[in-house]
């Protein structure tokens, strides 16, 4: 992975944003709250060392590169890139 690859992913994501209506903020808020309520529990243990993506109160994907994860999920779910809540789960601790 290079800086160039990162930049290409960013360019793709910005293009994808133009294809969908902006996300509903209260839906994003609900998913952020869902994440916080489960933070520190065993729910995220399997995802340590990766980024998890939350949509509608469910983990819908995880991966080592957050930009690539977001791009892949947009293609899979056909919704705006900013609709996903993506958080890194550290390998140890919180």
């Amino acid at each position: 992975m290079t800086l160039r690859t990162y930049e290409e992913l960013v360019r793709e994501l910005i293009e994808l944003e133009k294809q969908f209506p902006p996300p509903n903020e209260s839906e994003c808020f609900a998913d952020a709250r869902w994440f916080e309520e489960r933070w520190g529990t065993a729910e995220f243990e399997p995802y340590r060392g990766t980024h998890v993506a939350v949509l509608n109160g469910t983990v819908v994907g995880h991966g080592r590169n957050s930009l690539q994860l977001r791009r892949d999920l947009v293609r899979e779910h056909d919704i705006h890139p900013q609709r996903f809540i993506i958080v890194y789960i550290p390998t140890r601790g919180l």
């Binding site: 992975m1 808020f29 550290p90």
Partner: protein
């Protein structure tokens, strides 16, 4: 007055050997906050670090902002020390990274309070943008860090702990 609730969580700590085989536990707590960066509607979770002088944005956060022209750059690419002209670097989580300084619009969000999202007004803040790239094998990802410079100006950070210290709660209020 606008207030946001931060999330406070026990983040482990250290055990030190004491006398007679006992040990002393030094607890560690971490505060988290949600943010919008650069006026862009992606909700990001960040560590609210009262020991950090300013905000630190790893590359996965600042590259999308840069692409949109949402960063006002203050230094070259990367930053160099004045005088010596040597490339500057910063230590984050035990490794050193080149960086670039800029200013970014930051809006703090709270999700730990009522059933509605809490927001403080957007402020332009100083940010350190690190040149950290994914490696093979993958290394631990740097967190998005919200430091104090600019962020707490005109605001009050209040921290409360339960009587046994096991539970923390924190709010940030705008005057």
């Amino acid at each position: 007055m606008p207030t946001i609730h931060l999330t406070a969580g026990a983040a482990g700590g250290a055990e030190l050997l004491a006398t007679a085989g006992a040990y002393v536990h030094l607890p560690e707590f971490r505060l988290y906050v949600w943010v919008y960066l650069g006026g862009i509607g992606t909700m990001e979770r960040a560590v609210f670090d009262t020991g950090a002088s300013t905000c630190i944005l790893p590359s996965r956060f600042w590259l999308p902002l840069h692409r949109r022209g949402a960063i006002t750059w203050l230094t070259g690419d990367p930053a160099h020390f004045a005088g010596s002209g040597q490339a500057a670097d910063i230590a984050v989580q035990g490794d050193r990274y080149p960086f670039r300084l800029g200013r970014v619009a930051l809006e703090l969000l709270g999700v730990g309070g009522s059933s509605k999202m809490e927001k403080l007004s957007s402020q332009d803040v100083l940010v350190i943008c690190t040149y950290d790239l994914p490696s093979e094998p993958p290394a631990e990802q740097l967190p998005l860090v919200i430091g104090l410079a600019d962020v707490v100006h005109g605001r009050t950070l209040q921290l409360e702990a339960s009587s046994d210290g096991s539970r923390w709660a924190a709010t940030l209020t705008e005057s």
